[in-house]
């Protein structure tokens, strides 16, 4: 039992990170049909930028964090939308997806050449101690990840459902044409989702980097799992991305525990295929009738 709880908490913590990345992924997909293959790198980079700011300006941690995060949201929230997505959006999903693939190479190689090929320590804002729950050692870092991630997701849900701006954004996501007729500033709403995506990536990055260490290649795994989480959850639902992230995180953790560890990676993917075959619209997705 104790070990099961330990696996479960570890899985939920990882899953929460996947969920943050997957939610951002889903948001930009909803509003602008952008499949962002650089999503993993979006989570990798903020931590690197924070460390870089500290290194370059000799700034204290909080200032470095502020500079790094601001720079990231500006470049990869606003800049990404304006420079990459806008010119390509009309040409369909694929060229844009490929362009984000190229962007991921640029981000990865840029972090490697501009910062370091080595992993670096990233300061943790919670102590690295553990507490014991039903005989299982639970790390405070994991608990912090879970608490903060859920708080952020809750905040996002409140924003989307409970504020005027959020509802406008939701309307834009569901039907931009109608939203435009209703006088919603669609362009600005789309931009907002990109900024939120970047902000979520920052949160994920700051939460996970003390454990994963800041390294240019960290995005590969996170990106893949966020993508899987988004599919499992239904691909077009914020709630789905949340559930998908958690499911994938827990399944991965359990797979490491109870299944041949060299095939660990296969388990979430088999789950993915099973879900596609049994419930094609994803765990939380709505069924779409085919339209003629």
């Amino acid at each position: 039992m104790a070990e099961f709880i330990a696996y479960l908490i570890a899985g939920i913590a990882t899953g929460a990170i996947y969920a943050l990345a997957a939610i951002g992924f889903t948001l930009v997909w909803q509003t602008s049909q952008t499949i962002n293959f650089a999503q993993g790198e979006f989570v990798m980079l903020p931590a690197v930028l924070v460390l870089l700011a500290i290194k370059l300006f000799g700034a204290p941690i909080w200032l470095g964090a502020l500079i790094g995060i601001a720079a990231f949201i500006l470049i990869f929230g606003v800049g990404f939308k304006v420079a990459v997505v806008d010119p390509m959006i009309r040409h369909g999903v694929l060229p844009l997806a490929i362009a984000t693939m190229a962007l991921s190479i640029i981000m990865k190689e840029g972090a490697k050449d501009g910062f370091s090929a080595e992993a670096q320590n990233f300061p943790s804002f919670v102590p690295t101690q553990t507490i014991s729950v039903f005989g299982a050692s639970i790390s405070l870092q994991h608990i912090a990840i879970i608490v903060v991630a859920f708080a952020v997701i809750g905040l996002l849900q409140w924003f989307v459902g409970g504020t005027r701006l959020g509802r406008q954004m939701q309307a834009t996501a569901q039907n931009p044409t109608v939203a435009r007729i209703l006088g919603i500033p669609v362009e600005r709403m789309v931009l907002l989702t990109f900024v939120i995506n970047a902000a979520l990536a920052v949160v994920a990055s700051v939460l996970i980097s003390p454990i994963y260490l800041a390294k240019f290649s960290n995005g590969e795994v996170i990106g893949l799992f966020a993508f899987i989480a988004a599919i499992v959850g239904g691909f077009n639902q914020v709630r789905g991305a949340l559930v998908g992230g958690l499911v994938v995180g827990i399944v991965d953790s359990m797979a490491a525990a109870y299944i041949s560890s060299s095939y660990r990676l296969a388990v979430p993917l088999v789950l993915l295929v099973v879900i596609i075959l049994l419930k094609p619209e994803g765990l939380m997705g709505r069924k779409e009738e085919r339209r003629v």
Binding site: A6, A10, G11, A117, E118, A119, T130, S139, Y212, L213
Partner: protein, 378 residues
């Protein structure tokens, strides 16, 4: 559409080999600078650059300056083969790299065919078993290191059962395949056999699994960063059994990244900037000063590889690339003859190395050498 063929023609020019300046000796390093091997490859590259700078500052090899070129392999065998072929077409004097066994396997026949010596960072046991006369290691092979570990686990740690955690690439798999029979021979039970992914970030589940195996000791055979992540995860799960490793686990990088979690880690060290040999420590300082971080064993390997070439060339007193391999086989290089080799190294006829090595422990964030192990064939 026809312009494509114009591009192809223009490209032909780009792909053709440029001529070599006579007053320099050209060395090409083909190594993993991107992809999965980027970290190891970058250390290796930096080590080489450091050696080349040192040698050139002191007048080069036989009066000729070294011109070093690095080609990235993207950790991909096909690209590695292309790059090694390019190096040879460009008239490299010897080939340096790569570090990962897969890319080595894809490229070693090429230098063999061209009769040019290739110095690789790979540790997998199989590499030197193929009768390639032009392949040289720059470190001990796993086949040489693992018996020492098993011995250590049995006699010093006195473990009756051991959990093995390894990275599922050629390095880790090779080590795992080498240690398991040695453990069995020593009568030690393998309590858990845990494979992890290259570049894995999250070791929580693996640590829990190892904890539950209740082994007397844990043998950790991961790359540096993964070692650090594992040690942290193990600490968080409250694992207090001895962690034993080979070279990487006790590296400066691991100690830096794992912090407290690295304390108490022990094991066998082949090459280490913390070894009780002044030359090693001096190398470590130079590296730190130039690149602003501590070198791992790959940095040392790259550094020594260049000096192996230098020694052989000066020994044969001419630039004969085929001769480099002939000269090195069976030779013993002493630091008194060539300080850059750092410690006495015997090159066996199959390309394996024999050297002294160390038993070490991490105490208070520092690697402390407990004992020096003699060469296998002293």
């Amino acid at each position: 559409m026809k312009s494509k063929w114009i591009i192809a023609a223009a490209l032909g020019a780009g792909l053709a080999a440029p001529s070599l300046a006579q007053d320099k000796v050209k060395l090409v390093d083909v190594v993993e600078l991107s992809g999965a091997g980027a970290t190891a490859g970058t250390n290796w590259k930096n080590g080489i650059d450091l050696a080349v700078a040192d040698i050139n500052a002191k007048g080069g090899i036989l009066g000729r300056q070294i011109e070093i070129v690095h080609y990235d392999t993207q950790t991909n065998p096909g690209n590695t083969r292309a790059a090694v072929q390019r190096a040879i077409d460009e008239g490299t004097y010897a080939v340096l790299g790569p570090v990962f066994s897969g890319p080595i396997g894809a490229s070693m026949q090429i230098s063999q065919r061209a009769e040019i010596a290739q110095f690789v960072g790979g540790e997998a046991a199989g590499l030197t078993k193929q009768g390639n006369q032009y392949l040289f290691r720059t470190s001990l092979s796993q086949a040489a290191a693992m018996p020492k570990i098993a011995n250590y686990l049995k006699n010093t740690v006195k473990a009756g059962s051991v959990a093995v955690v390894w990275v599922n690439n050629d390095f880790g798999k090779g080590g795992r395949d080498a240690i398991i029979p040695e453990l069995e021979k020593a009568g030690i039970k393998v309590a858990a056999d845990v494979a992890t992914e290259q570049g894995q970030a999250d070791f929580a589940a693996d640590a829990i699994k190892i904890k539950n195996s209740n082994a007397d000791a844990i043998f950790v055979y991961l790359n540096e960063e993964e070692s650090a992540r594992f040690l942290r995860a193990a600490k968080q799960q409250g694992i207090n059994k001895p962690m034993v490793g080979e070279t990487t686990l006790l590296g400066a990088k691991v100690i830096e990244l794992a912090g407290d979690a690295a304390n108490g880690v022990k094991g066998h060290v082949g090459l280490s900037i913390d070894a009780p040999i002044p030359a090693f420590q001096e190398f470590g300082k130079k590296y730190q000063a130039k690149y602003n971080y501590a070198s791992d064993h790959n940095g040392l390997k790259g550094y020594m590889a260049v000096y192996m070439i230098k020694w052989a060339t000066e020994k044969q007193k001419k630039f004969d690339s085929k001769g480099v391999a002939d000269t090195l086989r069976g030779a013993t290089i002493k630091p008194s003859d060539e300080p850059g080799i750092l410690m006495e190294t015997t090159i066996e006829s199959n390309g394996d190395l024999d050297r002294e090595s160390f038993l070490a422990e991490v105490i208070n964030g520092k690697q402390v050498i407990n004992a020096t192990l003699p060469k296998i064939k002293p």
